[in-house]
Every structure is written in C-alpha cells, then in structure tokens.
Amino acid sequence: MKLTLQVWRQASAKAKGGFEKYALEGLDENMSVPEMLDFLNEKLIKEGKDPVAFESDCREGICGQCGIAINGHVQSPEKRATTCQTHLRSFRDGDEIHLEPFRAAAFPIKKDLCIDRTALDRIISKGGFIGVNTGQAPEANSILIGHETAEAAFDAAACIGCGACVAVCKNASAALFTGAKISHLSMLPQGKLESKTRVQQMVAQMDEEGFGSCTFTGACEKVCPQGISVAHIVTMNREFWKS
C-alpha cells in the first residue's frame, strides 16, 4: 500500500510549524496509524533526518495519549476510535493524508505532534475526586448503588482524558471532559456531598486554563472515543446552577 503523508512539523513550542510531505510505499493495510509513523520514523532516522515526534503508549485505545487529527478528523476518521485504533484499511491506496496535532490554546504544541494537556489534570485537581483518605472507607456493600446508576456512572467515568472533545470544539471548550467527571461523581451517593464546591471550582479552572465556552454544538460527543454523551454537560450545568 502507498500513501502520501502531510505531517505537521514544528521544532519546538516557539518555532513556526508547517506541513511536510512524505511518500511512503510498502505499507500494510492492517498497520495502525502509530505503526505507520514508526515505519516513517525508521526511514527518516536512516536518512539522517529528524524523526516525527509523536506520543503513543498503550496502542489499544485506553491510555488517551496518542490523539492527533487525521485529515481534520480529531482522533480518527472512524467512529468512536482513537488514533491508535485507526488502521490503514480506513484509507485507499494512494491517498494523501494530513496528520496534525490537536489544536487548542489550552493545549500548547511542544514538538511536531506532541501537545501539553496538563490543563486537564489541573481541572481534576480542583475537585474531580471524592475526598476520602486511605483507610476511611466503610464496607463496600453498605453503599448500595442501583445497577442503572452504576452503569450510568461508568459511562461518564469511562473518559480517557484524550482531549478530543476540546480539539474538535470550535470554542475549544472542555465542557464534555469536565461535565463527565462532575456527572460521574455527583451521580454516586458517596460523591454527592462535595458536589457544590466541586462544580464551582472545576468550572472556574476550566475558564482559568483558557478553554472556551460551550455552545452545545454536540461535536464533542461525536468524536469521543468512549462515546460520552453531551447529557453530562447538561448535568454539569444543572449542578452549577444548583450550587
């Protein structure tokens, strides 16, 4: 299989970036996109050129690390897939493919396809947890949680922190990411107590980091690899007004 890549190259955070073209031959349609980049890098290194910096770890769609935009599709042209779960069989032989980092003011580019998403950790640090210390927990079955509630909490908690929701949003809003965590915790009896301060502080931090406002376009839900629903944004808003 043959593909022509247009890859975003940017030497450092401050440098000016641009697309560079690479023609690749001998690809296999079962390769994942990061495996294709491995293939490209091996070639570049042998030619004495600087390989493309990209981050990828678990390669099974759960660590949230590898996300890039492929032909403008955040994470993947496939539905509910991460970049590492995107295989070359998604493209046609001879296609030209653009690869670029997620774009958002709160996700500065570090080099080539690598971005800094620590803003998401800082949002979590403002209350995205239940304040229980080790040793304080009561017997597990003393907290009853209905099957449906547990399943709904899981749906929200499934977020992998990849930032695709931010990257696809025209406002670069982190509402889906933040909403999912707020919703996950406020849904559970053990997380209710801290709901008020949690939502106020996390929303404030979202603004502080330079994420935009949510205008409810629903684009985030469409690209979320875990299929997290925009209903969690509604929950966040409701929790916010309640507080």
């Binding site: 994942s32 390669r59 690390q65 080099k111 998403r117 403002k126 995205g128 927990a137 597990a140 499934a158």
Partner: protein, 633 residues
C-alpha cells in the same frame, strides 16, 4: 544473607502484629521527611497519595505527560477480593491457598496471605472513591469468575477495571497535589538510583522535554515502575513500559529475583504481520463463556463454521475437565502453544486458536453476551475488522506479566535500605505464575495499605533531610550525561527499535513459553553478540530535547543486559514450575514437573559487574500449605 523479616506468629496474625509493633512518626514530624515515588500506576499513585495523606512530603516522577496514562489503565477483567459476597465458600484462607497453588508453590506464604487479607479493605476503598464496579439490580456488588479458582471473587467495571481503579488512585493523587504534600513531576525519567552507604537517598532524573539531568534527593525511594514483559518486544504492554528504573537500581546493588518468570497471557490477539508493534490483550473473563478449540485435523484449511462439532478439539476441556476453559494462564498458554506448534494453529499466520462464543450466544442470547463483553467485542472488531458474534475470536499467547522483579522483604523493601519496590516491579506474591485479577489487587494493596506502614517504620529510624555530598551528586550526574552522550556518539546504522525487535524474537523463541538447555545456551551467546553490535551499530538521532529515540535507546541498552540475566535464571532452574517450563523436566502427561527438593527457592541475583551476576537463594518454607503437584484436571 537473605533476611525476609517475616514476623513471627501464626500467619493470620502476622500483619496485624506488624502494624501493632511497627514504629510511628509523630504527625508533626512527618512533614520533615521526603519520599520519592517513581511511577504513577496503581501502586505508585496509591502509595504517593496515602503517604501524603499521612503528612509526608512526596515527590512523584513519571515519564508520562499525565499520571493517568500509566499502564494499569489497560487492565481489563477485574480485581480479586475474598469478600465471599456469593456465599460460595470463599475466604481469605481459600484465596491464599489458590494464589500459592496458582503460583506453583514458588511464592512466600506470609506475603500472599497478607495480600488476600488486605483485599477486603481495598474493595471498600475503591468503592468509596467512586469506582463504578458492576452492580446487581438490587444495588449490591457483582462478581465473576477468573482462571485458576472455583469461586467468584472478581470485582469488575465492565472491561475497563484497571482504568477505573487507576482513575480512583489518580484522583487521590491529584487531590493530594492540590491540597496535600505531593509535588508532581511529569515527563521525567529515572536514569539512576542514588545510593549512599547502602541506603537509597534519591534518584537521577532526566527531564524528557528539556533533556536536563538533575539529582533529586529524598529520605526514601519507592519504585512502582511496572513490569518488563516488553523486553519480548511483542507483548501486551504499552510501548513505553520498560525495565530501566529497576535495572538501574539493580546495578546499584538491589537484588533481582526470579527474572525469568514471565507470564504469557493466553487470550491475546495473535500477531498479524511484521510491522506490528504490540499485541492486544482480550480479557481472560471471556473464558467464562467462550470455548477454546482447534481443528482436530492438522493444517485444516476450512473456515471455522465449516468444521463440524466432532472434528473440533476443545483441548482445555478435554485435558482439564474440572477447570476447563478457566485453567490457569500458564497452563492455558502452554496448551495453546503446543496446539500451534503441532500444526493445529488457525488464522492467517496459523499462530492462533479459536475462542468461540457460539454456544454461549445460543444459551444466553446475543444480548446477554453483548452486555457482559460488548466493549471487548467492539475492541476486537476495531483491531481485526472481524465480528466475534459471528465467528470465533482468534487468540494466541503473548508476553504479559513479570512475576519476577526486584527482590523485596516482607516490608516490600529491597536489600538496599530505604528502597521500596511495589506492584509488578517487585517479586513477591505471585510465585511462578500469577492468577488473573491478582495484579490490580497487588498493586493496590502494596500502595494503599502495606507500603504506607513499612515506609513509616523505616523512616522512623532515619534522620530526615540529610544532604548528599556534592562530590557524589556531580559524579552521578556526569555518569548519566556520559552514558547518553556515548549512545548518541555511536552513529551506526541500526535503530534502537531494530535492536529491540531482534532481541524480542530471540527471547520469545529461545526463552519463552518452552525452554531447554542447549537453546538457552545459544540464546546467551546471541544476546552477547547483539549487545556488542548495539555499541557498534546503534543509530540515535541528535538532540537532547524531546528525543524519543534517545529514551528508547537507553531502555534497550538496559533490556540487553536484563535479557542475559533472564536466560541465566532460566538456565539455573533445572525444573519446571508455573510459567517456567523446561522441556527436560515434564511429567509423562506433559505437565510442569517441579523439583521441590532442590529448587524450592526464589533465585535472588546480585549484580557483580556488567553481564556478571551472582546467585543467592531465598529458601521457601511452607508451614501452612501442603506442597503438592499442581493439578487442574
């Protein structure tokens, strides 16, 4: 010379006794002590958060961009606990017994008992953190069965249990970084351990974004840096999993235990081509409903649906009628390998066996199966493009978990004082084979419940905040700088990736699921040759700032040394046990044949100089469990 520090008294009371008599530090004085934690998976995050809650200062280091990306995130199936919520006869004792037997009687009784004992509180802790475990309609916690046991003691959150537990630990860690005493250093790699007078006093860390190398000082160091199965190149591990932190500690004096005990997971997806960078695991929980089979006929070219029932060999059900498809991992993996090697393999590369849900779907309906395993089936489809509701899955054994690791005593402390090793990075609880859903458990109890007490006990005897001699600091810094400069200066023609791949194939074929002396000897000389070539032919692109190739090269350099020790370890153990199967030592039925008289010990290796190791032995004593032939028939 091997002091395990196992407390006296009956096994049921050892841990209680330990906690009751261990030394404490006044809450006001705890903030004077600093602990470095390397790694932010379940073990590292939970330990760091818990220490900070107690009032200690904690510096956390991870090479990840965020602590949440650590590979604990990928564990699917579940976590064991002896809650006996099913009323099916489970107890701490039974879990202890299952785990010791599962490990083929090569683990330390006292440690295993403690893990089973702490499992109860761990589930409570995780639920309190908001981990959304599966629930019955009545609101009670649900359980399922895993391999190697006959009770249902596995708690789970769909197929993403590791992710959910890690979220809990990550959130506890992040909470402490905001309100407590944790200072978080992301994108830092530990390059070396600082040892002063046989005490761990800090690490040499490299900022992976800037390339800057610094000495980080502390009163104790915790390594929670995971396993090294990635040494086999194709494995179920994440791309960046590596052995470097524990290997560098080993080279500074920490003993390495049972390096050759690597678990091959039976339900991984098979390799599909040469370009492949990793293998994806499918949760063992699938074996609750899937039936494993191969065609009876060799080289059978037919599609699975065209092979009639009587021409299928459900070999696990045939060989192990009482455990069937839920036989332990080492046995299931080896059985699959035997089928593949004897020309019964299926799939495009004939390197797989079938895992078939046809009967389960006919019995319970597609909806029920979808509910149980929907996300796993989706994942299977994403990766392979195949629909497992309509045709059996293709599965194959793949390198997965390191039972071996740095040697630790009962306090999870290495022979280097003040160096604690937690989770998969240590050798402790799993013997020669780990049971499914015990790794999340071990990582959690090590971090939340055990290390917190043992670290405090150690620190109580130490003067806090002793500054390291500046001459030592600058020397250590220089050593790491020189080491990296040397790798960059080779300028050969082969990438680190190529060396890693070559090493992986070599180890998989010669020191993998099945081992034998002449082949191991061959492997040894080939690894030495590969190491030689590494220092002559390595090619690393220039640059200190964000240079993933340089990171990789340093890790592969360490892998090449560890590989030698793995082979050395496999050679010295002239018996079969658990995941270590020596072809020369098998029963007439082809099962692992232990030699308890001579090999009832854990190998404990000391680093003498590069590529030279000295063997010590920790004799295992079984006071409570009768050592027997491990049978799952």
């Amino acid at each position: 010379m091997i002091a395990t520090k196992i407390p006296n008294g009956p096994i049921q009371e050892k841990w209680t006794q330990y906690k009751a008599t261990s030394k404490l530090i006044n809450p006001a004085n705890r903030r004077k002590y600093k602990v470095i934690v390397v790694g932010t998976g379940l073990a590292g995050s939970s330990c760091a958060a818990s220490l900070s809650e107690l009032g200690f200062q904690v510096d956390v280091f991870t090479f990840h961009e965020s602590p949440r990306r650590a590979h604990s995130v990928a564990a699917q199936g579940g976590i064991n606990a002896a809650k006996d919520y099913k009323n099916d006869g489970d107890s701490i004792w039974r879990m202890f017994y299952d785990t010791v037997k599962g490990g083929d009687f090569r683990s330390r009784e006292a440690n295993v008992y403690r893990m089973a004992e702490c499992s109860l509180a761990l589930i409570d802790q995780a639920v309190a953190q908001g981990v959304p475990f599966a629930r019955e309609y009545s609101g009670y916690l649900s359980n399922r069965s895993f391999g190697g046991v006959q009770v249902s003691r596995t708690f789970y959150a769909r197929g993403q249990t590791g992710q959910q537990l890690l979220q809990g630990a990550y959130q506890a860690l992040i909470r402490q970084s905001a309100v407590g005493n944790v200072s978080l250093h992301t994108r830092y790699e530990m390059m070396d351990l600082v040892v002063v007078e046989n005490k761990a006093k800090g690490i040499v860390a490299r900022n992976l974004d800037t390339g800057e190398i610094s000495i980080q000082e502390a009163d104790a160091v915790v390594l929670a840096t995971g396993g090294y199965g990635k040494i086999y190149y194709l494995s179920t591990l994440a791309m960046n999993c590596n052995a470097s932190a524990i290997w560098r500690a080993h080279k500074r004096g920490a003993h390495f235990a049972a390096p050759s005990w690597t678990q091959f997971h039976p339900t991984s997806l098979p390799q599909m081509g040469d370009y492949q960078s990793k293998l994806t695991l499918m949760s063992e929980s699938l074996r609750n409903d899937g039936r494993i089979w191969v065609p009876k006929k060799e080289h059978d070219p037919r599609a699975p649906k065209d092979i009639p029932e009587e021409e299928r060999d459900y070999y696990l059900e045939r060989k192990y009628p009482s455990y069937g498809n839920l036989a332990p991992r080492d046995i299931s993996s080896r059985a699959a390998k035997e089928q593949i090697d004897s020309n019964h393999g299926v799939g495009p590369m004939k390197n797989a066996v079938y895992l078939d849900f046809k009967d389960a779907i006919a019995r319970d309906g597609k909806a029920a199966i979808e509910k149980r395993y929907g996300n796993l089936f989706d994942m299977y489809k994403k990766i392979t493009g195949m629909n497992a509701y309509e045709q059996p899955m293709l599965i194959s054994p793949a390198a997965h978990f390191s039972m071996g690791g740095l040697w630790v005593d009962y306090e999870l402390m290495s022979n280097v004082q003040g160096l604690f090793v937690l989770g998969e990075a240590n050798f402790a609880d799993h013997g020669a084979n780990r049971l499914g859903a015990n790794s999340l458990l071990q990582a959690c109890v090590d971090g939340y419940f055990i290390s917190t007490h043992t670290i405090m006990n150690y620190l109580a005897g130490e003067t806090p905040n002793v500054k390291i001699d500046q001459a030592i600091v600058s020397n250590l810094k220089k050593e790491t700088e020189n080491r990296l400069a040397k790798l960059l200066a080779i300028k050969g023609n082969k990438t680190a990736e190529e060396f890693h791949k070559e090493l992986g194939i070599l180890l998989y074929t010669k020191c993998g699921l099945i081992r034998e002396k002449p082949i191991l000897l061959e492997a040894k000389s080939q690894i030495l040759a590969l190491q030689k070539s590494f220092y002559k032919d390595l090619l690393v692109p220039e640059g200190q700032q964000i240079n993933f190739e340089l990171e990789k090269a340093a890790r592969v350099e360490d892998y090449l040394e560890l590989a030698l020790l793995i082979v050395e370890d496999a050679l010295q153990r002239e018996e079969s046990c658990g995941a270590h199967f020596r072809k020369e030592y098998q029963t007439t039925e082809g099962e692992a044949k232990r030699n308890d008289e001579e090999y009832q010990y854990v190998s404990v290796w000391e680093s003498i100089e590069k590529n030279v190791f000295k063997l010590h032995k920790e004799q295992l004593e079984f006071e409570y469990i009768k050592v027997s032939e491990r049978s799952y028939k």
